[in-house]
C-alpha cells in the first residue's frame, strides 16, 4: 500500500530546518508494508495546504501531515483541516486536562492561547501527545485517512509509535515488505553493478536491488513485497545470500550500519581496546569512534600528531625518517601505530599519515596519498591508498579504509567475525 507525507512550514522551504521527520516516517512505515510514494512540502498557507491534500487524496488513501500545530498565529494547519472537512471545533477535555497538568508542572500560567490547543475539529479522533502540547489528529472520511501531527521530531515519533502504529494495523490491509541491506567498502558503484549484472537478472519483479553510494561505501539494498510473509522471507534470505556471495570480499557488513559504527560495536562487544595516532586525518577517525556511546570501555585515548616534532617526541619516530623518506611514508606510519599501541595500552592501534590537501603535495606525494598503519601485539602492517575529494571526504574515506584494516585484523588475529 502507498501513502504520502505532507510537511507544512515556511522554515522547511527557506531551508531553515532540515526535514528529518519524513525519513523517520518512511523508514518506519516500510515495516508495515506501507510505502511512501511521494513527499510534499508546502508553506503555512491555507490554499497551498488544501490543494496539496486534495491532490494527495487523488493518489492515495493515507496521508501523514506534520507541522503547523503550534499555538501562534502563523500555525494554521488545524483551522485549515476543519475548513477542508467542513466542520466546527470542539474542546477536547482530555487534552485540556493534559495541558493544565503540563503547565502546572512547569510552573507556567495557562494562557487562553495555550488553552486553545485543546480545541480540535469535531470529526477527528484525538491522538494524545504526552510529550508536548499540540495533540495529534486522526481523520477518517470517505475511505481516506489523514493523520495530523506536530513537526517537533520527538512529539511526532511519540504519536506515531503510540497512537498511529496500532491504528494502522486495525485500519489497513498491508502486504509484507522486507529489506535486506549490506554495506560494501572501497568498490565503486559501477564495478559493483557490473559484478551484479547476472544476479540482478535472476530477481523476480517483486524483489528489487538498489545501490546507495556514499564516500567509498555503497549500500546494497534488496527490497521485496508480497502477501505471503513466510514465503517472502525465505526468498529474500536466498537472494540476499546470493548477493553477498557474488560480492564476496567487498561486503563489509550484512547490515544497514556505517563501517565505523559497526567496528565500534564489535570492539565494545569483544572488549578489544583501540587507540590511534592520527596525522592527516586530524582526529577524525577517533572522533567517529567516540560518537558511539559506550566506547569508553575500549578507548583510553589517542593522539593527533600533526607536526614532525610531535611524531618524534610523543611517538618516537626517529628524526632521520623525516630527512630521508619523509613523514608521509610507510615507515613513519609503522612507527606511529606501534607507539600508539603502547602509549594508550591498546590491543589494536591505527595510524594515518598522508596529504589531505589542497596544499602540501609534491610530485612524488600527491594530494590524496595516505599510509594507514595497524599494530597489535603480534606486529604491524601498513597499507598505502590514494583517496580523493575535499579534506572532509578524504578523512571520511580514510576512516572507512582504516575500518577495513581493523575488520580484517579482528578476524585474522582475534577470531572476531
Amino acid at each position: 500500500m502507498n501513502a504520502e507525507i505532507l510537511t507544512i512550514g515556511d522554515e522547511l522551504l527557506i531551508g531553515q530546518t532540515i526535514d528529518t521527520n519524513s525519513a523517520w516516517i518512511g523508514k518506519n512505515l516500510a515495516l508495515f508494508g506501507i510505502q511512501i510514494s511521494r513527499k510534499t512540502a508546502v508553506s503555512d498557507s491555507k490554499i497551498e495546504i488544501v490543494t496539496a491534500i486534495t491532490e494527495a487524496f487523488k493518489r492515495v488513501d493515507f496521508l501523514l501531515v506534520t507541522g503547523g500545530l503550534g499555538p501562534t498565529k502563523d500555525d494554521i494547519t488545524k483551522k485549515t483541516l476543519a475548513g477542508f472537512y467542513g466542520c466546527g471545533f470542539r474542546r477536547d477535555e482530555s487534552v485540556a486536562a493534559h495541558l493544565e497538568n503540563i503547565f502546572a508542572r512547569r510552573g507556567r500560567q495557562l494562557l487562553e492561547i495555550n488553552k486553545q490547543q485543546a480545541d480540535v475539529p469535531e470529526i477527528c479522533e484525538v491522538l494524545c501527545n504526552e510529550v508536548g502540547t499540540a495533540p495529534g489528529m486522526w481523520f477518517d472520511q470517505k475511505g481516506k485517512v489523514l493523520v495530523s501531527m506536530p513537526g517537533v521530531p520527538n512529539e511526532m515519533v511519540h504519536i506515531m509509535e503510540n497512537r498511529v502504529f496500532p491504528r494502522i494495523k486495525d485500519r489497513f490491509k498491508t502486504p509484507e515488505i522486507l529489506h535486506c541491506t549490506a554495506v560494501t567498502v572501497g568498490i565503486p558503484e559501477s564495478l559493483l553493478s557490473k559484478q551484479l549484472e547476472d544476479f540482478e537478472k535472476t530477481l523476480p519483479p517483486h524483489i528489487k536491488l538498489a545501490y546507495l553510494p556514499a564516500l567509498n561505501t555503497v549500500k546494497l539494498r534488496l527490497s521485496g513485497q508480497s502477501d505471503d510473509a513466510a514465503l517472502l522471507k525465505a526468498e529474500m534470505t536466498g537472494y540476499f545470500d546470493n548477493l553477498c556471495e557474488v560480492c564476496g570480499e567487498a561486503i563489509f557488513v550484512r547490515e544497514d550500519i556505517s563501517p565505523v559504527k559497526y567496528i565500534a560495536r564489535q570492539l565494545i562487544h569483544n572488549k578489544i581496546k583501540i587507540s590511534l595516532a592520527e596525522s592527516c586525518t586530524g582526529g577524525f577517525i577517533a572522533n567517529q569512534l567516540v560518537t558511539e556511546s559506550g566506547i569508553s570501555k575500549v578507548f583510553n585515548g589517542s593522539i593527533i600528531s600533526y607536526a614532525n616534532e610531535i611524531k618524534h617526541r610523543e611517538l618516537g619516530v626517529p628524526n632521520e625518517i623525516f630527512s630521508t623518506v619523509g613523514a608521509v611514508s610507510e615507515k613513519c606510519a609503522r612507527y606511529m601505530c606501534e607507539a600508539a599501541l603502547k602509549k594508550f595500552n591498546a590491543d589494536i592501534a591505527i595510524s594515518t599519515t598522508g596529504i589531505a590537501g589542497p596544499g602540501g603535495a609534491t610530485d612524488e606525494k600527491p594530494v590524496g596519498l595516505i599510509y594507514i598503519g595497524i599494530a597489535t601485539a603480534k606486529g604491524s602492517r601498513v597499507k598505502k591508498y590514494h583517496l580523493f575529494g575535499t579534506r572532509e571526504q578524504f578523512m571520511q574515506r580514510a576512516a572507512n579504509c582504516a575500518m577495513m584494516l581493523v575488520k580484517d585484523t579482528l578476524l585474522q588475529e582475534f577470531g572476531v567475525h
Copy 2:
C-alpha cells in the same frame, strides 16, 4: 519569483537518506530573491517523475531537480527527461573527456556504463560537474527552465555555485538582493529577538531580519531587496551596524562563517599556535580545526585523553584528583589544558572534560555538564557549562563554547580583534 524543488530517489522515501539538498537550495536561492514554494519527493519511477514535472510547471517557471543520475539501472532521471522533452541523446565530448581524465587519475578502467554518463538529452545544455561523474543539465523550453543535478550533496553544491547561479542572473530578472550576516554564540533565539524588538520596528519593508538558529549559535541575517543597488548597499550598512550595536557582546563575528572556521583563520593569520587535550569531546574540536586548510602552521597536535590513566600519565593530572573531585571537575580541566600547552608547544591550549551521555551521569554530574579550560603562557582559567542534546550536539555546542573562550583570550592576551 517562485521556484520548486523535485527530489528523485527511493532512498528519500523509504528514509534511508535524509534530504539536506533542499534546505541548501532553499537557503541559497533566497539570495537571488527566488522563493521555494513547494518541494516534492518522488521515487525512481518514470510516471511519477513525469507527473511531478508536469504538475510543477503548471505552478512555476523554474524547477530544480536532484537525484537519479547515477550510472546504474535504478537511476532513470536522464532517460525520463529525454522522454519528457521528446528528444534523443548525444554524447557530450567535454563530459567524455572529463570522465576519461577522472578515471585515469584514479587509476580505474572506464567501463561502457561509465562512458554512458557522457550521453545527455540532445536539447539540454550541459552543466559541467568537476567534482563527480554525472553532469548537471539545463533545459530551457517554452519559457520553463528545468535544472537536473546529481543528488550527491557536494556535487549538487558545486553545480549550483559554479553553473546555475551565473545562469540565474542571465535568465531571470531578479531584483538586487543584499545580505549581511552576523553570528552570535550562546544566546537563545528568544532572548535575541526580545533584545532586537525595537530595532526590528525601524526596518523598512524591503529589509528583513531572519533568525537562523543552530547548535548554540544564531545567525542574524539582514536581507534587503531593491532595484537601486547603491542605495540599498548604503542602507544595509547602516542597519547592519545598528543591529550589531544592539547585540553588543553577543556578536561572535560580523560575517557568515562558523565560529570554529573563524577562529582557525584568526590563529593562522596571526601565527598563534593552538593545541588541545580533549576528554568528553573525543577529538571533535581538534578535528573541526584541522578541517581548515593551512592549520598545520599553527597546530602541532593534540591528545584525546579519555581514560583517567591517560590523563594521569600523559598530562600529569594527579591521581588524587580522580579520587576526590573526579575527572569531570574544574581542577582536572585546568591540569589538562596547562599540560597540553607544554606538550605540544602551543600558545593557547584548550581542554574539555564532561559527561557527553547518555551514560555516565551521577546526581551531582548530570549529562551535559562540561568544564572547558584554556591555558596560555600567562595562566589558565576554566569555565563550567551545561549543554544539552545528543552526543554529537553536545560536542558541537562544546566546540562553540571553546571558540568563545579562544576569541576572548585572543583579544585580551594577544590583542587580536
